[in-house]
Amino acid sequence: MSIVRSKNRNLIYPGLLWFFVFFLLPLSVILIYALTTRTLFSGEPVKFTFENFIVIFQKKHYLTILLRSLKISFLTTVFSIIFSYPVAFFLAKRTRFDKVLIVVLMIPFWINYLIRTFAWKLILSENGVLNQFLLWIRVIDEPLRILYSQTSVLLGLIYTFTPMMVLPLYASLLRIDDSLIEASLDLGASRARSFFDVTFKLSLTGIFAGTLLVFIPALGSFAIPAILGGTDSVMIGNIIENQFSKVGDWNFGSAFTITLAVLSIALVLLYSKIFGLESIYKNRGTL
């Protein structure tokens, strides 16, 4: 390695130091909290225990919330794939205005999601826009009670995170060589067969990259269920927030946080196992 390159190499240290001190170190600190009881830093000897994790998986209350969060995030991901696939396909393969449309699609993404969630409150509330519209066209006689339920949380999450699915899907579809699709048609495949065997399979990287971008933040969300949800739609994020801002049991709260982190890291590792890590960088979308 030349002198220039080894001098260049030294430039990584400020960033790396920052990363270790302000990202990895805090993570290890909550891991320690998660594995100990309340005696940490009180002078008494530290005891390691899996108690906090056992509570999460044994108490029905917490296990229900954990499973519910996984279910809601899973549904969010599935619907975001279904909603955005045709759009991503259209943008990548059937129009010349894709660049402009992508920029337009990014606009709401930059408006604070709290405000967008607030808009859903306007739409879904009992005398909200949706109910007024449905009453006006006489589809219903009484206003629907959608707000403060799992449905409204799901609607809010899908709305917030679907744009994140469009970008990687679009990027992966754009990379598919049209001649492959034409070749499959020339060789006698039906349009459906050609779509499922060629286009869809080649877009799987995009689907999975989008899944990371949708599933993980959905699993860790707490503001959307706090605004749109009711008692039946409490998610992991709300439990964690409650532990730190009201209950004050840091050890248990840390264990829940670590569980959340492990679930998301597992997903990332699965992804890199299947598709390789470079593809995350390639599927960044337009930016």
Partner: protein, 266 residues
């Protein structure tokens, strides 16, 4: 294959864009509606909510804090990420390794995890919460995002030019300043804006770390809990206009920079 008009796809895409934009349009409409409630028919046109927002001390304070946090964290993270990429990129292109996995973690981990771990960490070592802590934590995430954006310039990093300039007598510092950095500037500008927006929009991390201070998203959240004031709509209108102008600046700067590059080349 492309000569047939995909009517169904066009209809679907139009509906999709409507779905994405209708909530935002609604917010805009109610920012100028004179009634307190949120129901049709509209009652009348007013600037009242704008004046009420501007005379709201808390809101102005929150906007100021958000701007300070966003500008400082974007600047620090861009500088760190530019350094990181100069040091790492060429090697990474050949063998992406454990660094990539590590550096991408802040992007892929729920911000809740990052916020909570920072809260516990700083409280444990007895550093009071507040705006500096928020800036620190925002840098930890946005550094990874900016780095990700800089990766896009990976192939173009002119290391040969840099080496040549050093061979011809330039100092290493000058070679970085005059040759490598200029190549990274368009990506760095995009990265800075991205980092700014991440910080500006972030609610979860800020909520846990900001202590008794307010930022704009935290202010909005508290307003949402108290009930719906149309002031929040005015904030949305202003943020949208701000966002649009940021996007316009980004696109323009790319265009202008591209033109300058073209001129230099010809």
């Amino acid at each position: 294959m492309k000569n047939k008009k995909p009517v169904l796809l066009i209809i679907y895409t139009t509906l999709f864009f409507l779905y994405i934009f209708v909530p935002i349009i609604l917010i805009f409409i109610f920012a100028w509606n004179s009634g307190e409630g949120y129901s049709f028919p509209l009652e009348g046109f007013t600037w009242r909510w704008f004046t009420e927002l501007f005379s709201d001390q808390l809101a102005r304070k929150a906007i100021g804090n958000s701007a300070v946090i966003a500008v400082s964290s974007a600047t620090i993270s861009t500088v760190l990420a530019v350094f990181l990429s100069i040091g790492l990129l060429k090697g990474l292109a050949r063998r992406p390794g454990v660094f990539l996995v590590l550096l991408i973690l802040p992007v892929l981990m729920p911000s809740l995890t990052i916020g909570i771990s920072a809260l516990v960490f700083f409280r444990t070592i007895n550093i009071p919460l507040g705006i500096p802590i928020v800036i620190l934590s925002h840098v930890s995430i946005s550094m990874s995002y900016v780095f990700l954006i800089l990766m896009g310039r990976i192939e173009e990093l002119p290391l040969n030019l840099q080496e040549a300039s050093v061979d011809l007598g330039a100092s290493w510092f000058a070679s970085v300043r005059d040759i490598v950095i200029p190549f990274l500037i368009p990506a760095a500008v995009a990265g800075w804006l991205f980092a700014f927006m991440i910080s500006w929009n972030d609610f979860i991390i800020t909520y846990f770390l900001v202590g008794s201070n307010l930022t704009l998203p935290v202010y909005i959240f508290s307003q949402l809990r108290f009930g719906l004031s149309p002031k929040v709509n005015v904030i949305s209108v202003l943020i949208t206009l701000f966002t649009l102008s940021m996007i316009a600046i980004l696109l323009l700067s790319r265009k202008i920079y591209g033109k300058i590059l073209m001129k230099v080349k010809t």
